[in-house]
Symmetry: C2
Subunit: 279 residues, 2 copies
């Protein structure tokens, strides 16, 4: 008796995404990292125009200094230890501050390709939806796991954004596909399985790209994905305030930006400490 309600809820979520894409001329921003989980900076991002936010468990591991972790790479190894309820609290807090119009997709223990057996059940999906999530940021790496996630999330009115990865990625954040043809095939199959938004892991940071350019292999993969996908598309991985320009005009709808925000906030703080200490 909640099927219709939750289909409607999914529709509201999708409208938020589509409206943001349209408002920003075809390419909008999904703000994550410190702008996804710290309510002070989530609010600042939203007041500056961001309409999509993503709290996630590795970022919260960094925020909380979990086991003294200092880098995102190391945070990925222990992110599953962040209590699921903690992620629900983060979502609820950010939602309370940014209001109902903002789209929130959430990464939580069990929604990524985890290194330990982290369950994601009806209770988990219900808890995230109840906390205020519109969607789940899914980094599963098999079709079977993605299918389970899509079915569960839809049941509780949440959309799923899922990703195509590269087999050589340091952390596996999606279903791996090597050649552009395989990327197209994978993206198409993800869409057929019901993924509501489909992204490409661009790995910009480790491609060593020049400012404002996308490495050729990344561009070819992106074009392959964009050609077959009809749902909203994303690009994630190493995108910053310089190289993002290369994505404008490719047709990708959403740029996922996290570490770049962390770095910018860190630099602002560090520079100001330097002023106070007159260094």
């Amino acid at each position: 008796m909640i099927i219709g309600d939750m289909q409607r809820k999914c529709g509201f979520g999708l409208k938020k995404v589509m409206d943001a894409i349209e408002a920003h001329g075809g390419t909008t921003l999904l703000a994550t990292g410190i702008t996804g989980d710290d309510a002070r900076l989530a609010l600042a991002a939203v007041q500056a125009g961001a309409r999509l936010l993503e709290p996630n468990h590795p970022a919260v591991a960094l925020a909380r200094g979990h086991k003294g972790v200092k880098s995102m790479h190391n945070a990925e190894a222990i992110r599953h230890e962040i209590p699921f309820e903690e992620m629900c609290k983060v979502v609820a807090g950010v939602r309370a501050v940014v209001g109902p119009e903002i789209y929130i997709t959430v990464g939580a223990p069990g929604t990524f390709t985890e290194t330990m057996p982290m369950p994601f059940t009806d209770e988990h999906a219900y808890a995230l939806a109840s906390a205020g999530a519109d969607g789940v940021h899914c980094h599963k790496s098999t079709y079977a796991d993605l299918k389970d996630m899509v079915d569960l999330c839809h049941k509780y009115g949440m959309l799923v954004d899922a990703y195509v990865a590269h087999p050589s990625d340091r952390h596996l954040f999606g279903i791996p596909a090597e050649t552009p043809a395989q990327v197209a095939e994978t993206a198409k199959k993800m869409q057929d399985l019901g993924a509501d938004l489909i992204g490409l892991m661009t790995g910009m940071s480790y491609e060593g790209v020049a400012a404002g350019e996308i490495a050729k292999p990344v561009r070819e993969r992106l074009e392959a994905m964009l050609k077959v996908v009809t749902v909203p598309t994303l690009a994630e991985g190493g995108i910053n305030a310089v190289n993002f320009k290369a994505f404008r005009g490719t047709g990708v709808n959403i740029l996922v930006v996290g570490t770049a925000f962390d770095d910018i906030a860190r630099k602002a703080v560090a520079d100001t400490v330097g002023v106070f200490l007159q260094r």
Copy 2:
């Protein structure tokens, strides 16, 4: 049988403070706000040279979006609702990231002038010390409450930084004293009660001071305090990266800066969102 141990622990804490003051030419920084409770930015502040940090419960209320609170003023009204254990976790997380050399003083439910009956008992002091706090940021507004706090904190090896307030302050963050003579008398009595660091609430923000200047009444109060106090001194309230310069040369040892860091991080994030959205 822990008295000697804890006296020794207090000595270690004081040495961290004195070393920071000396290293920074007589005036150092106590970084708080987002640099006190977010492990990512606490680490950035420390890497830039900050040696004293202060997580506190109103800032954590903002960080967590508690009840949708968006301003520090409103956070002060509900700060006591942040679970005490949450503050212990924040201290432990920041400590895990910044290491043992950094001085951490903490504001937690019960250490400020709270609007509800918030107990601060042996268990609370023990919990904060165990989490990694070197001191307690005390905003009690009577001598009796300050005395209780000093005795409890010293018992568990923590120093107390306490403050002289102004009777007309919007939020009461210390023992109120109106004239410079009363400030001197109050500060002297606080020192006699065992406060290890003594600060003045400067209310810079609501004095409407010009850049780089201290309003005359604030300067007179500061000079009155500095004349009688022999322990390390602090100035807190509305100090930012412009007006702080006026404090150099007054002889005050520690500038407490929180909201200025929040604002700087917010602006950095907002500006960058603007770049991504090409506004």
